[in-house]
Each structure stands twice: as structure tokens, then as C-alpha cells.
Amino acid sequence: MISFDNVSKRYPNRREALSNVSFSIGAGEMVFLTGRSGAGKSTVLKLIALLERPTRGTVMVNGTNTGTLPSRKIPAFRRQIGVVFQDHKLLMDRPVYDNVALPLIVADTPLREIDKRVRASLDQVGLRDKERALPSELSVGEQQRVGIARAVITKPRILIADEPTGNLDPELAMEIMRVFKRFQEVGVAVLVASHDTHLIDQFGQREIVLDDGTLLSAGIAVSGEPFRISATAPPMPELPNIEARR
């Protein structure tokens, strides 16, 4: 689902955030992306969500080379990926329902379908009774779950999360991670950037470790087999016909 092949990223301020990083993540895998602050975790997520393009190397996401994708196709590309942020990025003046529905609204999904899927998404994160509440009326953990519901409403095959438990107490953090685990169990590739080693250890999933923009370890697959970097990644499934879906 995701592969990085010798990817480097240099920002306009000349800082090289990633240097020759290669790894692959297959469908239905849950992977933690770890490393200290400034290690390059956020840059990896930005490259996957096409918020940035690689300076060198190839980033393939769901069969799409993000380095060569025309700008006009970026919105459709982003609709295939669920993204969860540490600061939730919710629209604070809109109720939970509208926040969760946003990815479907921008995709011109029929209203009846939106209604059905918003309720299903909120059910999945246990917030069905909060759909009329404003985000400011929710706890931090609930706001994070709204962010997750929004990320998964388009039924993405890839879910990425940037420090999703950063502001949460251990109990809430565990609850959020269990939500991610449930999506992994239904075949979604989940990549969670986190530096909470205690939490990561509890889940025992594969870890990709970055340090100062370089790859220290691409981790061990859940099966216990050493995970081989890039070249032996599982074959990519066919990219869904984006235009037809629109």
C-alpha cells in the first residue's frame, strides 16, 4: 500500500528532513513510526498525504507515484487516505456531524449516503449520541475520536496518524489505539507516528525507526519475520478508479 524507495526530502530552508529512506507497508498492516522530535516522522506522513513531494526517490501510495501526480488530481488522491492529527484539525464552529461528513461532502456524495455513513462512523468510535455537539463541547479524547471518524468515513485503505495520543492520558491513548487496531483488523493499512514507546510496546506491532532523517530500522513484521525493505514489499493492489468514483 505504501512504499518509500530511497526517498529524500529537503525543505526550502536547506534542511534535509529525510535522507535515502526506504520501507514498505502492506495492506492490513499496523505500523508505528517512531523516533525523536525532528527525526522525520511528520515528513514521512506529509509525503504520504501529498502535503509535500519528495526531493529525490519514489513514494508510491496505493499504486500512485506521488512525485509525478498532477496537482489537479491531488484532491481525489487525498480522498483515498484517512489522516488523523494530534491537534484534530476540526472545524470548531460546526457540529460533530458536519465535521465527520466533510470528506464525503467534498466528494459530492449523495446526502442519504452521507447520513448513513456518518452515523456508522460515529458508531465505530462510540460518539453516535454526540453528532449535534460542537467540538468545543467534547473532551480531548472525544475530539480525537471525531478526527478518527472523519478519517475513516471514506473507507480508506490507508490510515495515517500523527501523534494521535500526544495530548491524551494513558487510558484514553490506549482506547484510541484500540480504535486503530480495529481498522487494521478489517484490512486497512495503519501507520501511526508516535514517540510513546510504552504504548508501542503494549501493542507489539512493527516499528519503523527514524533518527535525524535516516532510517534506523524498518521493523519486524507482525508474523515475526524480519521485514525486508522496499524491494520485497507485498504486491500493490489495483488503484481504484478515482474518476469513476467521482
Binding site: 484532491p75 484539525k89 449523495p110
Partner: protein, 305 residues
């Protein structure tokens, strides 16, 4: 298709709601647009009404033919009869010198001074009015030459010279009006564009999130375009109201003034068709201003993780 319509209705209602939530800013913007649209339209109406008013005068290009002193009245009447036979002549009125003096005495206020005169200093004269369809400059000039050629005639006075000059001034005004319309139209674009720019800045976070979840530029642009159209419609509606109010306010006074000059002229306002055109122009200007602004500013906003 129904989803597409629903999205547009949603964007329209959203734009309406946002405008309603900041009434003072909305009203001020609409007033500025309304005044900017009303000024050229009002000027156009002034020119149009002036043309109509002087059109009456154009149909009455009168010559006053003054005979030389001592010309017998019978000769003046004979020439008048001859003139009536000429094609293109509407009316010929003979005013004998005695009648002219009487009228002058009555209207001028110099009655006592005139009584002291031993002889009548005024000549007989004719008032000649050509038919409207024979009032082209060439025909009028031809008639003037014909009248001047009579040996009994002292002066041929064409009373409509000022009308011609006035119409020339209106022509200049009409041309200037187009320039004014373009400048004020650009002003409307600037007002709408700047208002939309501020709104884009205020909603930067929302735009970022929308793009982050896959919203295209077209989707993000949609509510701003509706906002621009609503500003344009509001401004044009206000401009139409201002014009209507102005015409109502001045209408009676102008009609009374026209009556003093024996004219049935009444001030014409905007027709329904004119109003429709004004509203359409307002909407198009609003839409275009918003399109320019969103084109410039939305592209610069990209989501940040």
C-alpha cells in the same frame, strides 16, 4: 445531478448565512457596491431623459422671420400663404407689428416707456415651424436660405441652435458615461475582491482542513463565488432602489417645470428590463470579482500537517 444541485443550494445557503451573521459589514459592502452601480445608471438616465426632453424641442425647430420695417402686412401675409404651399412646412403664423408690440408691452413690464414711443419699432414677423420629418440639418439650412432670399426679410432667426448645442453636449456626456461605467465597474470588482480576500483569510483554517480531506479548489471556491454574486445582487438591488427613489422624488417637480414650458415631458425611471439588466450586471460583477480574488488567494492556501 440532484447531489450537484443540493451542493450548490448548500453553498448558497451557507453564503447567505455567513452574510447574515455579520450584518454591518455586509450592509456597508452592499452600500458601496450599490452607490458605485447607481452613479453611472443615474447619469445614463439623466442623459436619456435630457434627450427625450430636447427631442420635443427638436420636433419644433422654429424659425422667426423678421420683415424689414415698412413692409406692408398684406405682403407679409402673401408671403406666409406662399410659404404654406412649400413642402415640409407644418405651420406658419403671422404676427403683425401691432400685435407684437401689444404682447411685448404686456409681457416686458415696459408698458409706460413704450407708450411714449411715437412709432412702432417692431416689424411684422412670421413664426415658421417645419414638419418634424423635414427637420434634418440639410433641410433646415435649405429653408433658412430660402427665407433669407426674400428681399422683404431683414433677419431669419433659427430658435433651435441651443438645442443642437445641448444635444452635442449630451453626446459628449454619453461617451464619458461609458468611461465612467468601466471605472465604477472596476471599483465594484475591487470592493468584492477585497471583501472575499478578507473572508478567505478569516476562513483559512477551514479551507486548509477542507483541502486536507480532499476538497478541490472548485469546491472550496464555490461558497465564495456565491458570496460575490450575493454582494453583486444586493448592490444592484440597492442601486435600483436609489434610482427609483430619486425618480419618485424629482418626478413631480420636473413634470411641473416641463408644464411651465408647455411640454408634457415626465421623468422616466428604469423599466423592468433595465432593472433586470442592472441586477444581472451586478451579479456578474460580483461573481467575477470573487472569481479573481479566489483565483489569486485560494491557490496559496495549502494544508499543513
Amino acid at each position: 445531478m440532484s447531489t450537484w444541485i443540493a451542493r450548490h443550494v448548500q453553498a448558497l445557503l451557507g453564503a447567505l448565512g455567513r452574510l447574515a451573521r455579520m450584518p454591518l459589514a455586509t450592509v456597508l459592502t452592499v452600500v458601496v457596491i450599490g452607490v458605485a452601480l447607481a452613479i453611472p445608471v443615474a447619469l445614463a438616465l439623466v442623459v436619456q431623459n435630457a434627450r427625450v426632453a430636447t427631442g420635443d424641442f427638436r420636433n419644433a425647430i422654429d424659425f422667426t422671420v423678421h420683415f424689414k420695417l415698412g413692409t406692408p402686412l398684406a405682403r407679409a401675409e402673401q408671403l406666409a400663404r406662399k410659404l404654406r404651399q412649400r413642402p415640409g412646412i407644418d405651420t406658419v403664423i403671422v404676427t403683425p407689428a401691432a400685435q407684437a408690440l401689444q404682447e411685448f408691452r404686456r409681457n416686458s413690464g415696459f408698458g409706460e416707456a413704450l407708450a411714449a414711443l411715437q412709432d412702432n419699432p417692431l416689424p411684422h414677423h412670421l413664426l415658421v415651424r417645419p414638419l418634424p420629418e423635414h427637420s434634418t440639418p440639410t433641410e433646415v439650412e435649405s429653408l433658412r436660405r430660402y427665407l433669407t432670399a426674400w428681399p422683404e426679410v431683414d433677419i431669419v432667426q433659427l430658435d433651435s441652435d441651443w438645442v443642437r448645442r445641448f444635444n452635442a453636449i449630451l453626446d459628449v456626456l454619453r461617451r464619458g458615461l461609458w468611461g465612467g461605467m468601466v471605472v465604477l465597474g472596476l471599483g465594484v470588482l475591487a470592493v468584492v475582491g477585497n471583501t472575499i480576500r478578507l473572508e478567505i483569510q478569516n476562513r483559512r483554517a477551514e479551507i486548509e482542513v477542507t483541502k486536507l480531506v480532499g476538497g478541490s479548489n472548485a469546491f472550496v471556491r464555490r461558497p465564495f463565488l456565491y458570496t460575490g454574486v450575493l454582494y453583486g445582487l444586493g448592490g444592484a438591488g440597492l442601486a435600483a432602489l436609489l434610482i427609483w427613489g430619486g425618480v419618485e422624488y424629482l418626478g413631480q417637480s420636473v413634470a411641473a417645470l416641463a408644464t411651465q414650458y408647455g411640454s408634457k415631458f415626465s421623468l422616466a425611471g428604469l423599466t423592468w428590463r433595465d432593472t433586470g439588466t442592472l441586477v444581472a450586471i451586478g451579479a456578474i460583477l460580483g461573481w467575477f470579482g470573487a472569481l479573481i480574488s479566489t483565483g489569486r488567494h485560494l491557490r496559496r492556501i495549502e494544508p499543513r500537517a
